[in-house]
C-alpha cells in the first residue's frame, strides 16, 4: 500500500508511514474524514491545521493508540494489530500533555523509559541529545515548560526510533525553548530519522517540515513542501490594508492593479496577493490618492502557509 504512490525508486524512498481512507468519528463529530497520507523515510512531515482539525486523532491512529472506524494504516511496512511489539520497539512517541511523575528525577524517568526497549543510546547520551544533562538530578516538578517538553522528547528518543511522532511539540513554549527543540529535532533528522509532527504554528511547519499537509475538518486540503504550497498562491507577497471609513474599494479595480493576482476580504480588511511589491504598492497608493481615501492600516508580508490556509478555507488558521 505504501509504495503505490512512488514510482520507480521505492527502494530508495520507501514510505515510513502511510494511511488510506482514514475515518474516525466521536459520536456525531467527524474528527477524521477520509484522510490519505504518505510520509517518506527521512523526511519531516507536518500536519498543519487549526485546533480541532483532527490532527491529534490522525497522529494517534498512526501511533496505534486509536483504532480508526475505517481506513488502512501501514507504519514502517508493518501493521497495527499484527506487529505491535515490533512497531513499538521502533517508534518514538511524544503525546500532547503527558505529565511524568513530579517526584522522579529527569534521569530516573529516562532510565525507566529506556528499560522498555531492547536497543538504544545510553541514558547519558539521550540527556545530552536533548540538552538536559545539567538537570539530570532534578525532579520533574522543578523543570520549566521547555525542559519538560524536552524530557518528553528524550523519552521518545530512548530507542533511537526510526520514526518519531510529535503532537504539538512546542505548544505553550517560549521562543527560546522552541528553537532549542527545533535544533534537537534537526539533529534527529540528520541521524536519518523520520518525523511526523502536528502543529498549529506556521513558522514551525515552515522551519522544520520538508512537506506539510494542511488539515481542516478532518480532511487534507493541501499537501506539498512549504515553498510549493506558497507558490500555488501565484504570488510571493501579501498586502493587507484597511480604509479609514467609507465603502471598500471595488474588487474589479484592485484586480486591475499591476502585479495583483488575487483579492480577498477578511473581517473588514482587504488582502492582495501580489507578485511584485514595487509595482503594486505605488499603483495602490495612487488609486487611493485619486479617490481621496485614507488608510487606517497598511502592511505587507511574504506569503506564508497562513495565506495558503486562508486561500483554501477563507479563514485564518488561528481564529482564537
Amino acid at each position: 500500500m505504501c509504495h503505490n504512490s512512488l514510482v520507480g525508486d521505492s527502494d530508495a524512498h520507501p514510505n515510513a508511514a502511510c494511511c488510506r481512507g482514514l475515518r474516525k468519528r466521536y459520536g456525531t463529530v467527524v474528527a477524521v474524514d477520509g484522510l490519505d497520507l504518505d510520509v517518506r523515510t527521512g523526511e519531516c512531515f507536518g500536519l498543519l491545521g487549526p485546533n480541532g482539525a483532527g490532527k491529534t486523532t490522525t497522529i494517534e491512529i498512526l501511533e496505534g493508540l486509536l483504532k480508526p472506524d475505517a481506513g488502512e494504516v501501514e507504519i514502517l511496512g508493518l501493521r497495527w494489530g499484527v506487529d505491535d511489539q515490533a512497531l513499538r520497539q521502533r517508534l518514538g512517541i511524544q503525546l500532547q500533555d503527558t505529565q511524568f511523575s513530579d517526584k522522579l528525577s529527569v534521569e530516573e524517568v529516562v532510565r525507566l523509559f529506556r528499560s522498555f526497549y531492547h536497543r538504544g543510546p545510553s541514558v547519558s547520551a539521550v540527556l545530552a541529545m536533548v540538552g538536559l544533562e545539567p538537570k539530570r538530578g532534578s525532579w520533574v516538578s522543578k523543570l520549566s515548560g521547555g525542559q519538560k517538553q524536552r524530557l518528553a522528547v528524550a523519552c521518545a528518543l530512548v530507542n533511537e526510533p526510526d520514526l518519531l511522532f510529535l503532537d504539538e511539540p512546542t505548544t505553550g513554549l517560549d521562543p527560546q525553548s522552541r528553537r532549542q527543540l527545533w535544533s534537537l529535532l534537526d539533529g534527529f533528522r540528520q541521524r536519518g530519522g523520520t518525523i511526523v509532527l502536528t502543529t498549529h504554528y506556521l513558522d514551525e511547519a515552515e522551519t522544520l517540515c520538508d512537506r506539510v499537509g494542511i488539515v481542516d475538518h478532518g480532511r487534507l486540503i493541501a499537501l506539498g513542501t512549504p515553498r510549493d504550497l506558497i507558490a500555488t498562491l501565484g504570488a510571493e507577497h501579501v498586502i493587507e490594508f484597511e480604509l479609514d471609513g467609507g465603502a471598500p474599494l471595488a474588487t474589479e479595480m484592485l484586480k486591475q492593479l499591476p502585479g495583483v493576482q488575487d483579492v480577498r476580504r477578511l473581517d473588514g480588511a482587504t488582502s492582495l496577493q501580489v507578485s511584485e511589491l514595487h509595482t503594486a504598492v505605488p499603483a495602490l497608493l495612487a488609486e487611493l490618492e485619486r479617490d481621496h481615501r485614507n488608510l487606517s492600516r497598511f502592511a505587507t508580508h511574504h506569503a506564508t502557509l497562513e495565506d495558503v490556509f486562508v486561500a483554501h478555507t477563507g479563514r485564518h488558521l488561528r481564529d482564537e
Partner: protein, 360 residues
C-alpha cells in the same frame, strides 16, 4: 556520557551498562514516588500506630474499674448516695432529673437510681457496661437491705497477655491497614497517571502491561514489612502484644493479604477516570469490610445467614488468619481456608484488572 566513535566511524551510543529489567525499573519508580511523598509515608506508617495507641488506651483492660451510678435528686437521694458510698466498686453521684437521660446516653453514668421502696433502675440494656452497673448496684442495695450472700466464690482474674481486647484488636488493625494502603496507595497512583496521560504514554511503549500492574503490587511488598513491622513493634513495646504463632507465618499472611488488596486496588482503579471517582469506589469497597470483617468487634455478632458472605470477604480472611496465628498460635493447616480465600481474591482481581484496564 558514553559517546564514542567505533572503528568504522559510526556513532556508537549504546550504553555499556546493561539496563535493568523493566519490571525492576517500574518498581523502583513506584518506590521513589512513594518515599518522596511525605503524606503517603504518614498515612501508611504513622497513622496506624496513632490509631493503635488511641484505641489501646481507650480500651485498656481496667482491672478494678468501678461502675458509675447516678442517684436522681429528690426525696431519699441523700440517704441512697450515702448508702452506695459504702459499697466497694461503685462511684455514685447525684444527677438532676433533667440531666439524667443525657448522662446515661453520654456514658457519664451507667445506671440511674430513682430512690424509693423498692428503688427503680434506669439503664440502657443494649450496653453491656450499663447492664453490669445495674447488677452491681442491685447487689449492693440488696445487701444493704439485709440480704446475705450464701457463699463467697473464689476468683481467678484473667490478666494473661493474649486475652485482652488490645491483643484481639492489633491483628484487626494490621488487616485494616493492609487493606487501606493497598487500595489507596495503588488506586490513587494509577488514576493520577491516567489523568495525566502517563498511562497512555506507557501504552505507546513496548512495556509489558502486566509488568506495570505487577510493579504496583510488588512495590507495596517493600513497605509492607515496614508498616506491619512498625505496628507490631509498637504494640509489643507499649502493650506487650506478641504473637503466639510463628512470625514467618505471620509475614506470609501479611504478604498474601497485601497481594489480595493490591489486586483489588488495581481492579478498583482499572476504569476510573478521576481521583474523585476512584475515591468513591474505594470507600464503597472498604466501608462494608470495616464494619463486617471484624476489625473493632467480632464479626460473629452478625446473623448466621450472613456468615458465609462475611467469611468470603478478603479482610475477614486476613483478620481471621492474623488472629489465628497471633492469638492461637495456629499453623498453616489451621488457616488453609483463609489463605485460599486470599489467594483467590489475588488471582481473580489481578486477572480481571489486566483485562478491563483503561490505558487511555
Amino acid at each position: 556520557m558514553s559517546l564514542s566513535l567505533t572503528p568504522d566511524g559510526t556513532c556508537a551510543m549504546n550504553s555499556r551498562r546493561p539496563t535493568r529489567h523493566p519490571l525492576v525499573e517500574l518498581i523502583l519508580a513506584r518506590l521513589r514516588e512513594f518515599v518522596r511523598e511525605p503524606e503517603a509515608v504518614f498515612w501508611v506508617l504513622i497513622f496506624p500506630i496513632v490509631l493503635a495507641f488511641a484505641l489501646g488506651v481507650a480500651f485498656r483492660t481496667k482491672s478494678d474499674e468501678p461502675v458509675y451510678a447516678g442517684v436522681l435528686a429528690g426525696q431519699g437521694s441523700a440517704e441512697m448516695l450515702a448508702a452506695l458510698g459504702t459499697s466497694r466498686g461503685i462511684h455514685a453521684r447525684t444527677v438532676q432529673p433533667e440531666q439524667a437521660d443525657r448522662a446515661l446516653r453520654d456514658g457519664e453514668v451507667q445506671v440511674v437510681i430513682l430512690p424509693g421502696t423498692p428503688p427503680t433502675y434506669r439503664f440502657d440494656p443494649t450496653r453491656p457496661e450499663s447492664r453490669l452497673a445495674r447488677l452491681a448496684v442491685d447487689g449492693a442495695l440488696q445487701r444493704l437491705a439485709g440480704r446475705t450472700d450464701r457463699f463467697t466464690a473464689a476468683e481467678q482474674p484473667l490478666q494473661v497477655v493474649g486475652a485482652r481486647y488490645i491483643d484481639w484488636l492489633i491483628p484487626g488493625l494490621l488487616g485494616m491497614n493492609i487493606m487501606g494502603t493497598g487500595l489507596w496507595g495503588i488506586g490513587f497512583a494509577i488514576v493520577w497517571a491516567r489523568t495525566k496521560n502517563l498511562l497512555k504514554r506507557f501504552a505507546a511503549t513496548p512495556m509489558s502491561r502486566s509488568h506495570y500492574l505487577l510493579a504496583h503490587i510488588l512495590a507495596r511488598m517493600v513497605f509492607l514489612g515496614v508498616e506491619v513491622g512498625a505496628l507490631l513493634i509498637f504494640s509489643w513495646l507499649v502493650f506487650s502484644v506478641s504473637s503466639r504463632g510463628s512470625l514467618l507465618l505471620l509475614a506470609a499472611v501479611a504478604v498474601l493479604g497485601a497481594l489480595a488488596f493490591g489486586g483489588i486496588g488495581l481492579l478498583v482503579a482499572s476504569r476510573a477516570r478521576t481521583v474523585e471517582a476512584v475515591s468513591g469506589w474505594m470507600n464503597a469497597v472498604m466501608l462494608p469490610m470495616w464494619v463486617l470483617s471484624g476489625v473493632f468487634f467480632s464479626s460473629a455478632n452478625f446473623p448466621a445467614v450472613t456468615q458465609p458472605l462475611i467469611h468470603a470477604l478478603p479482610l475477614t480472611a486476613l483478620n481471621d488468619a492474623f488472629r489465628a496465628v497471633m492469638l492461637d498460635g495456629a499453623s498453616v493447616p489451621a488457616i488453609a481456608g483463609e489463605l485460599l480465600t486470599l489467594s483467590a481474591w489475588t488471582v481473580l482481581s489481578f486477572s480481571i484488572a489486566l483485562r478491563v484496564f483503561r490505558w487511555k
